[in-house]
Amino acid sequence: MAVRIQTADFDVSAEIAALRRGNPKVGAVASFVGVVRDVNDGGIVAGMTLEHYPGMTEKAIGEIITQARSRWNVLEVLVVHRVGQLRPMDQIVLVIVAGEHRGDAFAACEFIMDYLKTRAPFWKKEQTGGGARWVEARATDDIAAERWRLKG
């Protein structure tokens, strides 16, 4: 289980290879990559700056991973989140879950992303034609996280 916050880009296949290296128990790897779009709330986005709360970010994501591990049978988890200046089409976030079977790997991967969206202290500031603006939190993200609670 690992959490990395970095300004540098990441290589998805190198990260997957490193995560399952030497572990013949792994039968399924689920991954999610979040990417910067060039449009948001109807405006053209030229780029964005990602700010975070050093220390708490790692702790919050670590707790989310611990919860995922207690709910599903997974072997390895990696979360990489970029901060700093990003441009459209840049990769922002990577979640990889390696497990014995796909069901648990898929579910844990989606759970980690939904919880990260509402609990990990990151903030996006977009640069648009009309100036810079802080991205507002979405109610749909709260709903996505909440549904995991209902699933017990």
Binding site: G34, L50, E51, H52, Y53, G55, M56, K59, A60, H81, I92, V93, M113, L116, K117, T118, R119, A120, P121, F122, W123, K124, K125, W134, V135, E136, A137
Partner: protein, 84 residues
């Protein structure tokens, strides 16, 4: 002394990312600290008003309401998170 941190839109609006505060004896919890900051008036009262969607953390864990505070604590105020 406690350390109070501000992030993102709050940091910009308040014009500071961090400050040290000596807690008055009357302030014992997170709600009390927020009220103390609101009492500064102006932008502080606007940005930290109870009606605003402000989140908080005590010692790097999300916290809501009457969470007790002690000397040496690190408290953070910030807008709802927008990562991922």
């Amino acid at each position: 002394m406690i350390t109070v941190l501000y992030f993102a839109r709050l940091r910009e609006a308040l014009g500071t990312g961090s400050e040290q505060i000596a807690l008055p004896a009357s302030v014992r919890d997170l709600e009390g600290l927020r009220a103390l900051l609101v009492a500064r008036g102006g932008t502080w009262a606007q940005e930290l008003a109870p009606s605003r969607p402000v989140r908080a953390a005590v010692n790097q864990a999300m916290a809501v309401g009457e969470v007790p505070l002690a000397d040496g604590d690190e408290i953070a105020f910030f807008p709802p998170v927008t990562g991922g």
